[in-house]
Symmetry: C2
């Protein structure tokens, strides 16, 4: 169990967990980062790390406090832990690189060639990593140039980087790809879909909703910032975009009731960054509708107890960041909706963490 060279490496990478042995790699204090792919693994030649925002901020603070540079801290953490998991924040980031070696039993064997540029779609906190050298540290983008080898398990999500879209745009699309894929899966022709928040995830959801509900359906959005609402409005995808704060459930209900003649929304997609938007999300959905919560600020209990307190039997879903094919789905939406891709490029000077 403790050596990657024992038989039957586990699809979730349990065989790489050294301390404690056999746990999920995200939980392990230390991973075996031996830089060779086992039968169901992929080895990746690392080109850069995109460090999670919370982690990067902590590393810079520690640099000021202790004098140990961000570069040296990263080198030390990866050497000690076999992965880039900030021991203070617990967070990681993702990496960019090229496929070096594909194990014969990996699900992508046969279709994935060495040299293919990829990005990981899961956290560095569960990715075995050995670094040979660390280059430039770009504070503005929280990007760190580095060479080394990372290991992907059979179930580790990754995406091929496209050659027709800027890298930052592709990475930003991957970062929020679960939400539009869920909209394409769950919205139906003729539905009224309400998108709460028009950041990057919201813009892709607008495009997905417009495609799915068709001309008989309605796409509504709310956004507290006037400039962001105006930018979303110019895309021409929504029937109406309201400059409203979703933390005000009564104002939200008034607006959406008026816009739908009291029918409310069949599907509410919450991609807001703010907390406290659960009640409004529930109130604006039909009793027989659904709310998809994708905002990481969502409170489980506020959503559950809010719906109960309002006697709303509406289905409430925890947005799952993984929908099969979501990476290509997100890129394809950008390709089909050039104005969205342009808005995305404006918003994606920095890659998501």
């Amino acid at each position: 169990m403790t050596s990657p060279h024992s038989s039957a490496p586990h699809p979730f990478g349990l065989h790489r967990s050294l301390e404690p042995p056999g746990v999920l790699p995200q939980i392990a204090r230390r991973l075996d980062a031996t830089p060779r792919a086992l039968a169901n693994e992929i080895a990746v030649s690392v080109r850069a790390l995109s460090i999670d925002s919370a982690s990067f901020r902590q590393l810079r603070e520690a640099e000021t406090a202790t004098g140990e540079s961000v570069r040296d801290q990263i080198a030390r953490i990866v050497r000690e832990r076999g992965k880039m998991q900030n021991p203070v924040t617990g967070s990681g980031g993702m990496l960019l690189g090229e496929v070096a070696q594909v194990g014969p039993e990996h699900p992508a064997a046969g279709g994935l060639k060495p040299g293919t540029p990829i990005a990981t779609l899961v956290s560095l906190t569960l990715t075995p990593l050995r670094l040979d050298a660390i280059g430039a540290v770009h504070a503005a983008t929280e990007r760190v140039e580095a060479t080394g080898t990372a290991i992907l398990f059979a179930r580790t999500l990754f995406a091929r980087l496209p050659d027709d879209l800027p890298e930052d745009v592709a990475l930003a699309a991957f970062d929020v790809a679960g939400a539009p894929a869920a909209v394409l899966r769950d919205a139906k022709p003729g539905d009224t879909v309400l998108i709460i928040g028009t950041g990057k995830a919201g813009l892709l959801c607008l495009a997905a909703a417009r495609e799915r509900v068709g001309e008989l359906g309605r796409v509504l959005a709310v956004e507290p910032g006037a400039a962001a609402a105006e930018r979303a409005s110019r895309l021409g995808l929504a029937d109406a975009i309201f400059t409203l704060d979703a933390r005000d459930p009564v104002a939200m209900l008034d607006a959406i009731e008026a816009a739908t003649n009291g029918r409310l929304a069949d599907l509410v997609v919450n991609v807001a960054n703010a907390s406290g938007t659960e009640s409004a999300s529930v109130l604006c959905a039909r009793d027989d509708g659904a709310v998809l919560f994708f905002g990481m600020a969502t409170s489980f209990s506020a959503a559950a107890l809010g719906a109960e307190g309002l006697a709303k039997p509406t289905r409430l879903a925890i947005g799952n960041g993984f929908v099969p094919g979501h990476d290509r789905t997100a890129l394809d939406l950008l390709r089909r909706h050039a104005p969205v891709a342009r808005a995305f490029a404006e918003l994606s000077g920095r890659a998501g963490g």
Copy 2:
């Protein structure tokens, strides 16, 4: 908007919010508790309050610290706020009483007679309340005898108290009624259903799952306590009950893989009290299955990011405490499964908060 006597009282009770006016009653600092039912309201003659555990504990601590009795504190809070919402914990509880007056436009008008004994199914934090007198305070059950009048809005959930089941059993069943109702709604004949946790909610879910999946389906459960697992096992509803801690995802996956020949569960119902059970819940569900999270200790981000990290496209649902008819559904399950009702009575010396 600030007077309950203005026209068109709101189904969510916004017209009763005085400070600030027009907000959701749960958020308001003070409600208008005028003890007469408006057109779409019900007035209830209060018999007892069941105070939320966190609130009751705080009231007793304050009694020790300040000398103001629990009774006097409750009287003061209700007088000041027009509702029993503990200003420190923010929590409430529920109430028992009899229907006094049904407004002609309330959805239950016609079918609900004055004198019917009921319990509210939503929090006291959103229920206008005026108390005339407070009687005995029962610390063991966190029950307070009281007379007065409460107001239910058109959308305030309540349940009729049955005359064939003990009151404490009925209240405990109402408290967890959402979970078994969701199992009856979502499980299908032939499914494998895994219940995580065999407290009161878990026992009702076992009965619901057994009824729904039939003889071709399988009902599995996990429970960390040996005594609780043994009690659940004696009910004869599950095909297998494992004494396992759901905070150990690897042990859970091993057990459920072995029990299902690797197929995993179509539906996982998490009714565990402990936090840290999200990964195991996701791991034990099929990729095309679903997880229903009903445990209030569930972390939204742990569930969402856990599923993404494991590349599991499994649907994740926030258990909604309200499914239409869930109160009768829960009582009917107890009536059809006498051993469950007996186990419930043992566990229900105290009503849920």
